[in-house]
Symmetry: C4
Subunit: 358 residues, 4 copies
């Protein structure tokens, strides 16, 4: 897609290419999509005060995220079932991440196995939903470690799937060729049964295989279980951020799951500053939910984030042109961020944390 | 209505089914409907900070309201003339409340008698507009007590009916078969005469049978008159909440009557926090006006409410499919609230009061 | 107009009846009409906390304004050339004011003479623009006093006419039969010459006959000149309100001239509270600009105003049906205010000043 | 254009006359044009409290900017390539500035040479983008001094060109007859090569000839280099304003380059007050970005600015009718400002700084 000038151009193209059910699955939020909209509004409201005469010239976007080198302070967000939008799925997105030089966060619900994904050669992080018993979790962590994953990210905002009404209206279910590949060998049902009328097959399947009563003791167990850096994803209340750090987390992701879990939850950018205040000196703080441009990344940095996770825009690129499309999205974002940093007088992402916002 | 995914789906269906005059009567607010709109805007503006890793799994929505068990912290709001939207009227709504397990608040202006309603077997509360002299009030309270009502709710925000312009434009009047059934035996005129041009028959009838100069001394008298728990409905100013508690109220309902009385009154959700601060430790504080989802219930709880009254959505369900439709509405709301609590890391409604809001 | 349920109904009818040039002259504001819109937005933003159980029943709207009895705390705002919208012009509006029982403020730029207007029998106040020399002002004050005017109101926000672009685009000029009747005998040009392209004849005429360099010394002179109560109209800055009181003003009108003078000026309702704080204990504070309903009057009272001036809606009524139409507007406003006060638990306008606003 | 009543009328006409690519080049902002829109919103939000009875009559708009006399506190903003919109380009705009009596800021990227421009006879200031080495800068400054420029303005917010997506989509390039005339004799490439797909030729050319790593040491060098008053344009953070003053700047321009550089930057009017607080007593503070009326100039003055730069509206006038059109724009703005000052009770621009804003 040679004529794209921003990430939104990929969005329009992807929507025109994908079946409605798939598009709605990736684009939609939960409930009235209040939180989905709030994510954008909160980012748009961050008015930056750029610095001048910084003497730095073109900025360097290079960063470290959880001690992994990254060509920009962005990681590919964990997203389930990437083969829904393109046959190459996770392998293509991982390749794009590898080629641009950012971490790829592989979802436990990938439609390729973690072993296939790490084979691509990106810096790979493994994202975990908590399965119904610890032995399963243990096995998945072991596989991730063995496959060479460098960071373990546990998602804590899905005790139950959010009420994603588009999926319910569409009676959305995975096509037969898209399965939770990691779980095939674990004795899980991986195929979706036909959903009942008024039910989302994704929600039903989630309910079936995930533990919903996850607690801090589980996190403590996991912290003991692995030496990998541990990231807790899905935190909005500073009290939980503090508890996560006290439990040994190396980073938290301030996130409302892209507006897909609790509708009515605060915008992640609105929740970020208090969390940075609470734990920013003790761990890395990442942000997701709503990032659509280099300016958005700069906004997140100015609010105190160490970096961001990029989600939907990567699926747009993947849908449009596989690994190449996803790489174009990342390449465009890198250019935008480099320009935004340069225009803000920041030599690098770290310098952006000193920017003032109105 | 098997394809409804939220309460708004019932609204659309009900609007398509009901005569315009009836629809406008239940949907409309007073004046320019500023307050009607503000109710929604204030709820939408409540941004929640959910908690994670609470270890509680799926939440329990069970509550107590005025010491009555409730399967969710919701009571069916008192609404006049429910036979306007369905022949089964109050009896159907009471049955839905009974089946889901929440209190049904019977309006003094019901189109079925309080005795018929309590016969249905729901936990029934009785709502009183103050009639023109105390002997009438006395008689109505006696009937409510005798019929087994467990709570007495007195509405204090109708010294005169709000200027509901839709009803005036429609020259709305009750059809002959819908009467104020409780008042038939009380010597009241229950039929509406033909309204004058530019007049609402409902407003004229209200003016005719209600006392408009109700004062605190009347409330004191009522407090002496009955041993039932007493709820004062229609309070927005904390000074009045304090006075109500001092007069012996067991609960107040923060309400602007669904935007149907003083246009320009504050949104009830905007008025709630100051009232919780003023009297929350001394009595229960309920909220109504604008609740449309489980997230809204959670918002009310997070702002400090003990529970909410649900009004118009029950009429939508009733209009669509009688008792079954109303039950579907409540069942959907219960599911939404259970999910919202679970997603917010709250084991039960009481836990929601510790949530932070932005 | 028997089917009007609010003042906006008169607006729609009036717009359909009047020539576009006349409609634009009365409806328009200056510049981009930012202030015109802000007036409404500021009133709409005043969220009231009504009181309950006040024991007062139906409210009494009766008031005193500058020691004149008024059936509601409203005076008919001074507006030039009322014959533009109806042949009966000022005489009809004064009759409507007389019949409902409120003061009528006669503009020096009336299309009937002050003597003709006072003949109607309303409580009449006289509004003065400062003419080019003091002898003319002196003569006009003498005529007003002789004609029985009870209050003198001097408008101080027209050192030059606002840039009313609708009038410029329309090259608006008064029709031949509408003249500044008071000025005929004063040797003024009262007919408008043909405006130049891109000019408003009203603005040119204003420039020709008014003094633009009015200062506090002039106000002092006027204060000495007459024993009538003196009202200074067009104040937005509290420092000017203080100065006006110190100069002997009995009241100030917080006003931006209906958004017709400085575009970009603050909404009058937004400016009101600071002025009430500054001078509310020492003089009456009136409000104009944007009042469209009884709720708006209540809002003004709750913000601390003693009363309001009503402008455009009276012209709507006048345009629709002469004195009868204007009386309908006032009668409707009185009903709305009575209901709003009653619903807010206020026995009378004075009680409204204790209402809290959010 | 005899029927124009405000600057927006010129905008509409200009848009209808210019080729889309040229229109987009002058009208557009960078990125999502968030900052472009914020500039207007911030000005619209400045609610003024005019003063009355100031005794001053019609205001005098005369000012001094950097010790240059100006008939209103406005200078023609530096804008590149003015021949894009009219063959007379800079010479016409300079003539309009001369005739109305305000400074004309000649851009280093003018399509006429600085010598041709100063020949017109306006008070001319010279605006500098920092060229790739100091000898070029030195030479340009020498030429500006020799040509009689009275002020030197250095733009510091273009370390790289903002991502102006309209230009990228249009593959915008200068027509052959429009060149950077000052640079022809300096050995620069002045013609644009054909842009690559997805690239703006303007951006590529900027990158080629400008230094991007400008620092405070460079500004110190420039301060030593010339005795001309020095203005630093493009400051939003008060810390940079302080540094500029400490480096010897005589004025700063609070600007986001008309929303054309960092999208997401704060509105200039929103950033202004903190900068006035920081350096207003030590240097002049000018504002640009979004000024469209006399009220906007008044707003800027009330917020503490000494004056403003006017950009796009001059190009509209130029496009519509060359020097005459630009003069009409300035003449209209002067009238608007005179009226706005008069209506605000300000005898002159300096008095406007005492106005209060809400």
């Amino acid at each position: 897609m040679n004529d794209a000038v921003n990430l939104a151009d990929f969005e329009l193209r992807a929507e025109s290419l994908l079946p409605k059910g798939v598009w709605d699955f990736i684009a939609g939020g939960s409930g009235d999509e209040t939180t989905l909209a709030a994510n954008r509004a909160a980012l748009d409201a961050v008015a930056l005060l750029p610095r001048v005469l910084a003497g730095s010239g073109g900025a360097d976007t290079g960063s470290q995220l959880l001690k992994c080198e990254a060509s920009l302070p962005v990681a590919a967000a964990p997203m389930a079932y990437q083969r829904l939008v393109h046959p190459d799925g996770e392998l293509a997105l991982a390749a794009a991440a590898r080629d641009i030089g950012i971490p790829y966060v592989a979802s436990v619900l990938s439609s390729a196995t973690i072993e296939e994904i790490t084979e691509v050669g990106a810096v790979t992080w493994f994202q975990l939903y908590w399965l119904r018993d610890r032995s399963q979790v243990d096995a998945m962590v072991a596989r991730a470690e063995a496959a060479g994953c460098q960071v373990l990210m546990v998602t804590v905002d899905v005790p139950v799937l959010g009420r994603r009404l588009r999926d319910v209206r569409n009676a959305f279910r995975l096509p037969a060729e898209v399965v939770a590949a990691n779980l095939v060998s674990g004795g899980f049902s991986t195929a979706h049964s036909n959903p009942l009328r008024g039910e989302s097959a994704i929600a039903a399947h989630t309910q079936e295989i995930f533990a919903s009563a996850l607690g801090w003791a589980d996190l403590e167990w996991l912290r003991e279980r692995t030496t990998l850096p541990l990231v807790v994803k899905g935190i909005l209340d500073p009290r939980d951020a503090v508890r996560a750090v006290e439990t040994g987390a190396d980073a938290v992701v301030v996130s409302n799951h892209g507006g897909r879990q609790l509708d009515g939850a605060a915008a992640s950018a609105a929740a970020l500053p208090a969390i940075v205040d609470a734990v920013g000196s003790r761990c890395e703080v990442l942000l997701d939910s709503g990032i659509r441009s280099g300016t958005d990344v700069l906004r997140a940095l100015a609010l105190g984030a160490s970096g961001v996770l990029l989600g939907r825009p990567l699926l747009w690129g993947l849908a449009v042109d596989g690994a190449h499309g996803a790489h174009q999205v990342l390449s465009l974002l890198l250019s935008e961020l480099r320009d935004a940093l340069t225009l803000a007088g920041c030599a690098n992402p770290a310098a952006a944390r000193t920017l003032a916002v109105l």
